[in-house]
Symmetry: C2
């Protein structure tokens, strides 16, 4: 029992209820203050795990709400085979609600060809820019765009301009290490996925469902 609750002569349960009521009042006040209702830009960056998988979790949420979704993958292999198999059912068929583009030519250390990498990133950005200009998309996931920005394959000024001019209710999620400052500045929600430890560094292979 804390000194505060002893001083007030409260039982542990009463003290718990009192703290819970204070917390509820705080949360209620914050919710009451959040009155703006519009599309948001979410950026997942950092060296840790979870940037893309969190983007896919939000994609699942959006599909659950019946939102019309677009995905552009800037680096091949960043979508796992599990995600591809899972989301495939929403892409194919007459009632498709997901527009899914795998644009990357592969990781740069696999292609080893700068000209091809730049061309692939530019082509991916063209598709993304069309989505960001189209109110037919409620949710757009630009997976690993930060990598292309970092390597200057795509211009951060062009991305910031497209985000600023997009439809008011459209959500955009951008993932990848090393998000540029100019992008962080215009984003609404930014998370740095910080690596504390990773199984791979301990000699454990990439696992189906977790990385693949």
């Amino acid at each position: 029992m804390s000194r505060g609750s002893e001083r007030l002569g409260l039982t542990e349960d009463e003290h718990y209820r009192e703290r819970a009521q204070r917390k509820k009042a705080l949360v209620d006040r914050r919710i009451a203050r959040a009155t703006i209702d519009r599309g948001v830009v979410v950026v997942n960056t950092g060296n840790g795990k979870g940037k893309s998988s969190s983007g896919f979790g939000m994609l699942a949420r959006s599909l659950g709400h019946g939102l019309r979704c677009g995905v552009v993958q800037f680096i091949k292999g960043s979508f796992s085979t599990g995600e591809e198999a899972f989301f495939r059912r929403f892409i194919e068929g007459a009632d498709a609600v997901l527009d899914y583009h795998v644009m990357g030519e592969g990781f740069t250390w696999e292609t080893q060809d700068r000209t091809r990498d730049i061309a692939a990133a530019s082509a991916a950005w063209d598709v993304a820019a069309r989505m960001l200009a189209d109110p037919g998309y409620d949710f757009v996931l630009l997976d690993e765009l930060n990598i292309a920005l970092n390597k200057d394959y795509v211009s951060v000024d062009a991305v910031v301009a497209a985000l600023s001019a997009r439809p008011e209710r459209q959500h955009v999620v951008i993932t990848g290490r090393g998000a540029p400052d100019a992008l962080v500045e215009v984003a609404d929600t930014v998370t740095e996925m910080r690596l504390v430890k990773h199984a791979f560094k301990a000699g454990i292979q990439a696992q189906k469902g977790i990385e693949l």
Copy 2:
């Protein structure tokens, strides 16, 4: 062009290829070293966004691979209505592959009843412990378990013991702020989702597909 490539008399493209080859060799060596093949424990913690949504992204991957999955939600409301709507189709029907338990009684500042909160957390842990002992589950997501550990509603020693004794190929993903040190120690992959900024603090309501 870097001084190194000038010194060697390489063009920019040759320099790019050389760096890509070095990077590929490094990645290939790391992959060759990762020879252990077993289930992993993944922990998503920190105050930023993406802990639960990343867990759901891994759930989507696992379902894509045909893994048999279990989910226990320790705090009601931590699963969004979008996720519920989306994953519902995998839970119901004869060919269900997902065992999904919503166990929390609601956020503690909503219930304001300590005894009820402890009972709800204990009941949720009982379901989780059965999954962790059952080789019929390939992937288990324990959403917001860290909150229950932090409040001592569930014993961290019991969780560590159950993780250590679980089937060798079973993956477990545990989310929530404030993961206890003892859990971080036994986990294989740990990410701290660090809050850089959040739309909610700027007065923007929780958005469907993003938070809901």
